[in-house]
Amino acid sequence: MIEAIQRIVDYIVNYPFVRYTIVVAVLIALCAALLGVTLVLKRFSMIGDGLSHVAFGAMAVGAVVGLTNNLYIVLPVTVISAILLLKSQESKRIKGDALVAMLSVSALAIGYILMNKFKTTNNVANDACVSLFGSTAILTLSMTDVWISIGLSAFVILFMILFHNKLFAVTFDESFARASGTKTSIYDIAVAIIIAVVVVVAMKLVGSLLVSALVIFPALSAMRVFRSFKGVTIASAIISVICALFGLFSSMIWETPVGPTIIIFDIAAFLIFFIIGLILSRTKKA
């Protein structure tokens, strides 16, 4: 164990890219968790999941078109899909959840076909795996990636803090918010944009299939134990960051893929909080 810690410290001291990765991972974990609380309570979890698949498809398109940085296509496509999905929830013509499912599988299928037909590298299977489950090692972040991740995360975190109380009001009781004259649809669109941004940024860390785990697990864990909106928000941020760090370091020690390792810690945290929640409710009743 001490040897392992020694190794991690070595990495951090000697390799700047390890330090960048840690910074990016913490920021991504933080915004994923902050968003997660609103997402889960607004019952938008599935939308987040669907969007990550849309982002996968968009990434494949980006690769085909030959963009140097496919963020330029992934971000706008995901933002637009997010807004469309939210709007579709309001109209009752097509069932919202069915639409999300349709969109996400379509994006996966089209994305994978594009990747196969227009190979940019020789190892398509590996490319697809990286996009879906995140990179196997943490070396793949370019300096541009790092700065974009930092910028977008900072934007999300700032938004979530400044609009904490407003998001509570429109999430807790939308009818009341509307009755008192709040334009709730603006917040829905803002949340949609934030979801898209988080999905795109977090995809780098954990891959598109696992993004929603990163977003919803910390919030669900915190909700087992904490009973105030503020408490849940803060707790899920802390849980998420701790899990991301543990996952990152573990993946260095055991050479496991980064994304899934972080998610394993998120799952473990959920189980722990689930049990704590059970014990707390028992003692309260007794």
Partner: protein, 240 residues
């Protein structure tokens, strides 16, 4: 027609996607009124309420809201079962959210707002609940918390939707008393209810939502003989 009318509806039709649920509604709400909206399930009470609070647009006719109400909004007390169970929120968080529309881009609540929120809780006799989790409270306590939130929002008009459904007789009685006192303090109360008996007991005006809608003072309603017609759905099941 008085000049400081809060809400005036003329030949109003409400419904969804151009399909009117109820048409030809004519009524007005003045400061200090206590209006009971009664009608059978499916008659359009809830649709009318959603139109009043701006969730859906009127299909035709005019809906006039006074400038004060446009500014302060309507204090709305939702039906209990419209709120999420297990939502993580303290009583204080819920009550403070009543100030939201007044804050503009200011992100956090001021000291004064916290003070007013506390006073509202005190008025309703529940200040000891401030730090408790909202979803763990009893139905009657939750209603009071939501009332405190509505008072943070506005002192002009309060719209309550089936305020006593799911409450035990004691909580029901005290809910009606709180509403009566609120009304005596000068807040216009609009109550949607199944309970015609209590509607008649407390209301100053009655709006019967039906194919042939009726609007008038309580006395006019009693003379119209519609009370008997209305009574056939007293004790009807609360399906909606």
């Amino acid at each position: 027609m008085s000049d400081n009318v809060l809400v005036r509806c003329q030949d109003l039709s409400v419904g969804y996607e151009h399909q009117a649920v109820v048409s030809g509604l004519n009524f007005e709400i003045n400061p200090g009124d206590y209006l009971c909206v009664i009608g059978e399930n499916g008659a359009g009470k809830t649709t009318l309420m959603k139109t009043l609070i701006g969730v859906i647009k009127p299909i035709s006719g005019s809906l006039f809201l006074s400038p004060e109400i446009k500014k302060s909004g309507i204090g709305y007390l939702p039906q209990q079962n419209n709120l999420q169970k297990d939502f993580p929120a303290t009583v204080m968080e819920v009550v403070l959210s009543g100030f939201q529309h007044k804050m503009g881009f200011r992100p956090f609540y001021s000291k004064k707002e916290r003070q007013i929120a506390m006073e509202n809780l005190h008025k309703l006799g529940i200040c000891e609940l401030a730090k408790r989790c909202f979803s763990e409270l009893s139905g009657g306590q939750q209603q009071r918390v939501l009332l405190a939130r509505a008072f943070c929002c506005t002192k002009e008009i309060l719209l309550v939707d089936e305020p006593v459904s799911g409450l035990d007789p004691n909580a029901t009685e005290s809910m009606y008393q709180i509403l009566e006192k609120t009304n005596k303090d000068g807040v216009a109360v609009v109550m949607i209810t199944h309970d015609v008996t209590s509607a008649i007991r407390y209301a100053s005006h009655v709006l019967l939502v039906d194919k042939e809608s009726f609007f008038g003072t309580k006395e006019e309603f009693l003379q119209s003989g519609l009370e008997a017609a209305g009574k056939h759905f007293v004790g009807g099941h609360d399906h909606d």
